[in-house]
């Protein structure tokens, strides 16, 4: 390509020659730039020429301006009109400015809702830790599963919620519990078994800057629940994932800050119903006067021994409730579920041809139902539930009773009933409570257990409290609750927890 430069041309014709040179060897876009510059210069000159011209006649101006500028008598209405128009325009601009300011204010002034940031992702949770002492009788079978009979500090729940709401109708909730388990968990223990093997998760911290021979104890995370949610209307919300079974009062209240007593009912501890399920749940509510009526319905894998279901028989369940909010809070609930449990193993039946055989080890049908009642009148809180579960095993597919070799669970009807009365005193946030529970669960020890209990909560603030409870466990041959045949297994349990919601 030619590379003629301006310097090679006569200085007197430099402008022309420069342009020519550019035309010769420059890129077209640069030529356009130069052309634009020239046009701009011409436009500037034209503008200067226009400015030097006399003021145009009124006939050349727009109608509005002419009316405003006309000094004649007939121009007064036009002037008024013009003023009105200008006034309207100012008002419009003021309104637009106000709207802009309002939208800015919304983001600046609309702050968090109660107890949480109103953002797409929120973190919150609760923690509890304290002391406890389990005191089974020397002859109690509970000695076989109680690692310590001494007073011990315990790290209870450290739960973290991750609550996402990326849009108005969509959300997700994940609740994690952090724990030091499996460290210290015992394997092979049981009421009639011998030496337990205790897991130890201590490992050398090879990443330590101190050389790698310090030790660290690793723990784990319990997935309490994790679901996605779509809210269509008050009557229809869908959740998919792992959700807490909507059964009774305790499993919905769920957390230590919300529950009244420190110790859970026995039917909750022994999972008369699966505490959480993997599946799809729909829920909704409506209001009729002072009453709120609601429902939950779900289909799930049910109770499983793995993270997948080994059968196509899904668990179906639901809950109906009615809540009176005024002038006091009164709630009734009805819960139920039915499903099939199956535990299987696989083995190679033959290599040629290759065949896998699945063998069902444990299988049973279960149905559970419950009614619950709660009442809040002033400082008084009353809770009660009755729940029952029927279990029917397939022939030859029973599981072991508390892992005891040769001791199998029978077809059975479990049931539980408790009453809880709590009253908030006007001093120091003190709330004493009494609790009585009777639970029928046939085991090799007894037919059931009675659990009278007392305790108190101290509400320091809305989010901080101290919970203390003493419980006595009396094994009995229900319905004869006075029988002492199993009294050698009785126990005392006392615990206290400092609880904080954050």
């Amino acid at each position: 390509m030619a590379s003629v430069t301006v310097n090679k041309f006569d200085r007197t014709s430099a402008a022309y020659d420069r342009t020519s040179a550019l035309q010769v060897h420059c890129r077209p876009d640069r030529f356009r730039t130069v052309g634009t510059t020239l046009m701009a210069s011409a436009a500037s000159l034209f503008a200067v020429w226009l400015a030097l011209q006399p003021v145009p006649a009124a006939a050349d101006q727009p109608t509005e301006s002419r009316a405003a500028a006309d000094p004649g008598d007939d121009s007064l209405p036009a002037l008024r009109q013009r003023i009105n128009e200008l006034g309207a325009r100012v008002e419009q601009q003021a309104a637009e400015l106000q709207a802009q300011k309002a939208s800015t204010d919304v983001t600046a002034a609309v702050s968090d809702g109660d107890n949480g940031a109103e953002s797409a992702l929120r973190f919150y949770g609760f923690a509890d830790m304290g002391l406890q002492r389990m005191m089974p009788r020397r002859s109690s079978a509970l000695n076989g599963i109680t690692p310590s009979k001494e007073t011990t500090f315990v790290l209870g729940n450290i739960n973290l919620y991750m609550d996402a709401q990326p849009s108005r109708d969509w959300g997700a909730l994940v609740e994690l519990r952090f724990t030091n388990y499996p460290n210290g968990a015992e394997i092979g223990c049981g009421p009639s078994m011998g030496n337990c093997r205790r897991q130890n998760t201590d490992v050398y911290d090879t990443t330590s800057a101190s050389g790698g021979w310090s030790r660290v104890r690793w723990g784990s995370v319990v997935l309490e629940r994790a679901y996605l949610e779509w809210h269509r209307s008050d009557l229809f919300t869908v959740r998919a994932g792992s959700f807490l079974t909507p059964f009774g009062i305790w499993n919905i209240d769920h957390g230590t800050p919300t529950l009244i007593s420190l110790m859970l009912p026995q039917f909750e501890v022994n999972e008369l119903f699966p505490l959480r399920q993997l599946g799809v749940e729909v829920l909704g509510n409506l209001h009729r006067g002072p009453w709120e009526l609601g429902y939950f319905a779900y289909v799930s894998n049910g109770r499983t021994s793995a993270e997948v279901d080994f059968t196509d028989d899904k668990m179906l369940g639901g809950r109906l409730y009615a809540v009176l909010h005024q002038p006091f809070r009164l709630a009734f609930g009805l819960s139920g579920l039915a499903g099939r449990y199956s535990d299987q193993e696989r083995m190679v039946a033959s290599l040629l041809p290759y065949k896998i055989r699945r063998h069902e080890l444990v299988a049973y049908w279960e149905q559970a139902g419950g009614v619950d009642f709660s009442l809040d009148v002033g400082a008084l809180r009353v809770r009660s539930e009755f729940a029952m579960r029927r279990v029917a095993y397939d022939q030859g597919k029973r599981d072991l009773n508390y892992g005891q070799p040769g001791v199998y669970n029978p077809d059975r009807l479990e049931w539980d009933n408790y009453w809880l009365f709590a009253y908030q005193l006007p001093w120091a946030g003190l709330e004493p409570f009494v609790y009585m529970e009777i639970y029928r669960l046939p085991t090799f020890v007894s037919e059931g257990v009675l659990s009278p209990s007392v305790g108190f909560n101290v509400h320091f603030t809305a989010s901080a409290q101290l919970k203390t409870q003493y419980s006595y466990g009396k094994f009995a041959d229900l319905p004869d609750i006075t029988s002492d045949r199993s009294s050698s297994h009785n126990y005392h349990l006392i615990g206290t927890r400092l609880v904080l919601a954050y």
Binding site: V106, N115, F126, H231, N285, H287, A501
Partner: protein, 144 residues
């Protein structure tokens, strides 16, 4: 329009609280139960399916405390506990806070589905942008 700010002149028991909604909201009158369900977020949609956007005053404001006592029958501590319980259960999020009642009026006038409460002096009876659906007078919810 008056520009009384809540912090400067807290409403006394004799001061009316006006519960206002966007002019298009399908509600002309709300009772105590309905207000309680809206502000505890157990009701999240209006009758026509529009999402309810409820705006609360901050918990420490006298306006909020008067409103909560009248509609929910709860004091500040009980309301705090209520929302902690809701959170632990995994329930819905509480209404947003708006500290300035004037802004509540603006929001309710611009956002369909919005509902809030302000000192009654901030809202004229002939307002076309918002509608008064209830009043709180002397601790009682009354008709607008």
């Amino acid at each position: 329009m008056a520009t009384t700010r809540l912090g400067a002149q807290p409403p006394g028991p004799e001061t009316d609280i006006a519960v206002i909604v966007h002019a298009s909201a399908p509600a002309t009158r709300l009772g105590r139960n309905e207000l309680a369900s809206v502000f505890t977020v157990s009701r999240r949609t209006w009758g026509d399916g529009t999402t309810i956007l409820a705006f609360n005053s901050p918990p420490d404001s006298p306006l909020r405390q008067a409103f909560d006592r009248a509609t929910l029958g709860m004091d500040t501590d009980q309301v705090s506990r209520f929302w902690i319980d809701q959170r632990i259960r995994g329930g819905t999020r509480p209404p947003k806070h708006v500290a300035d009642p004037n802004l509540v009026v603006k929001l309710c006038s611009r956002l369909s589905g919005a509902i809030g409460y302000v000192p009654a002096t901030l809202v004229g009876r002939d307002s076309r942008e918002v509608r008064i659906v209830a009043r709180v007078r002397n601790g009682t919810v009354i008709a607008p």
